[in-house]
Symmetry: C2
Subunit: 288 residues, 2 copies
């Protein structure tokens, strides 16, 4: 199966699994459930589920169990987007080509949507055969020493001048932690040993930064229509980015270096790591 | 040990356990961790931890394992308070006798505090020997078909006329679900069988409504200084309550009935249910 076909297949099965895990919109409270489905379904590249399945396939993991882990990570990701778009955070109106949740519904509903999606992530794991080690891994990645902590650092950094090290520290938390969880959960479903998990954690570290560098370049260069979210937001909000620190040219070079490093960490896995390697390329080439 | 001594002992050990589970305020991001500790520590009657320990003691559960379950439930409760106090929700400035989190810090930080406290609740369970069944039980209670769903129903009900049945439906979700989880998690730590859990679920249902009826009476009658939160808020926000629907006199009668019903569900446990019975009285008599 070529990569685009594989990617479409994983995206499609992720959509079906998410649809199944979400409460039906007719169940009370209907408006909340409708808003949860609005925020989650029918959008997004599903990068984290793709990484989860790619890592799991390297260990011949059961696809149905990978759906569970992949959806849990994606639900955490979507909750963070819904809260990040709120007026007291980034105050954004466009996400995945649609009005953001608080614009389509209202602020209080969007707050509860994010809250309930986070809960659902842990419920999906607990209800479908995951281990408490997997629950702990996702919680560690999502919490104050992971993604939510990264958001707090991001808040504090707006309008500040960061060093490259500080910027990297922020992104290791804000986006890196959840990308790492996606990869490691997939591998754990497949029964990967500690040595493999250590190697994959290194891969995920490089892939996470790569993703962020590319995101910064896209924010600076692509159009709102292409992105499906507001472009040029970082500069407008005076946020430190790889582009603001390094310029676009050096940021592109950094992306190339990170891609090479990411692939190098996979060498010992040989052909089993095929989808992870293809995803490294996809992350870089997705829009430029 | 008399009840006040027992209660003080549980409250004290809960405070110590929460302090231990929370990240230290010097760890990055320091401001977020400081705000999380501000929201959680040094306040609250810890009703849910008390219920959890009381139910656990009926089955001779290990107190250290009860601390884990009790703290997880309390962290979910505090996260819901922090988000509920935000301007887009109840917009409140006083909680547990202190400025609310978004007043003391800022809205974005309070949003992240709530998010991270929810994550921490699941992490505490997963890191300290809980089962995935316990994770699932807490998630079910906290999510869109539990507490968060109750908040959504509450939002939709503001300014509406509800029937007594609709009001009860709202509270079964908004406060009842988490109280039920506190009781059932405590009993599960003690290895209670299905029959006992069924009985305790009935107790928790009555106790949860009892707690809410008393809360409505207190909101209408007590002073802000006594409550440590803004009094008279329900009427000011035109929220339907047991007092607005029934009047104070009938609400007091309902509380007395619910207390009797709650205790009746415990009959078969005999003396083992002592603390649960004492807590039923405490809930009613806590301030009037």
């Amino acid at each position: 199966m070529d990569f685009p076909t594989w990617m479409s297949a994983i995206q499609a099965r992720t959509e079906i699994a998410l649809e199944r895990f979400l409460p039906v919109s007719t169940a009370a409270p209907a408006r909340l459930h409708e808003a949860m489905r609005y925020a989650v379904l029918g959008g997004g590249k599903r990068v984290r589920p793709l990484l989860c399945h790619a890592a799991g396939e390297a260990f011949a993991a059961d696809p149905a169990r990978l759906d569970v882990a992949a959806c849990a990570v994606e639900l955490i990701h979507v909750y963070s987007l819904v809260h990040d778009d709120l007026p007291c955070m980034d105050d954004d109106v466009l996400r995945r080509g649609k009005p953001t949740c608080h614009v389509e519904y209202d602020e209080a509903t969007a707050l509860l949507v994010g809250d309930a999606l986070q809960t659902l992530a842990f419920q999906v794991l607990a209800d479908h055969g995951a281990t408490t080690a997997m629950v702990a891994l996702l919680a560690q990645a999502a919490g104050s020493r992971g993604m939510a902590g990264g958001q707090a650092i991001d808040l504090a950094a707006t309008g500040q001048t960061l060093t490259l090290e500080e910027l990297e520290f922020m992104h290791i938390h804000k986006t890196g932690a959840l990308i790492r969880a996606a990869v490691l959960l997939g591998a754990q479903v497949g029964g990967a040993d500690d040595d493999a998990l250590r190697r994959l954690a290194q891969f995920a570290g490089r892939a996470g930064l790569l993703f962020q560098v590319v995101d910064d370049i896209l924010d600076a260069e692509a159009s709102t229509a292409t992105l499906g979210k507001t472009a040029g937001k970082d500069a407008a909000q005076n946020k430190p980015t790889y582009v603001s620190l390094l310029g676009v040219g050096r940021a592109r070079e950094l992306a190339a270096e990170l891609r090479t490093e990411a692939k190098t960490t996979l060498t010992e896995f040989g052909a089993r790591a095929r989808r992870l390697i293809e995803l490294s390329d996809y992350i870089v080439e997705r829009n430029f």
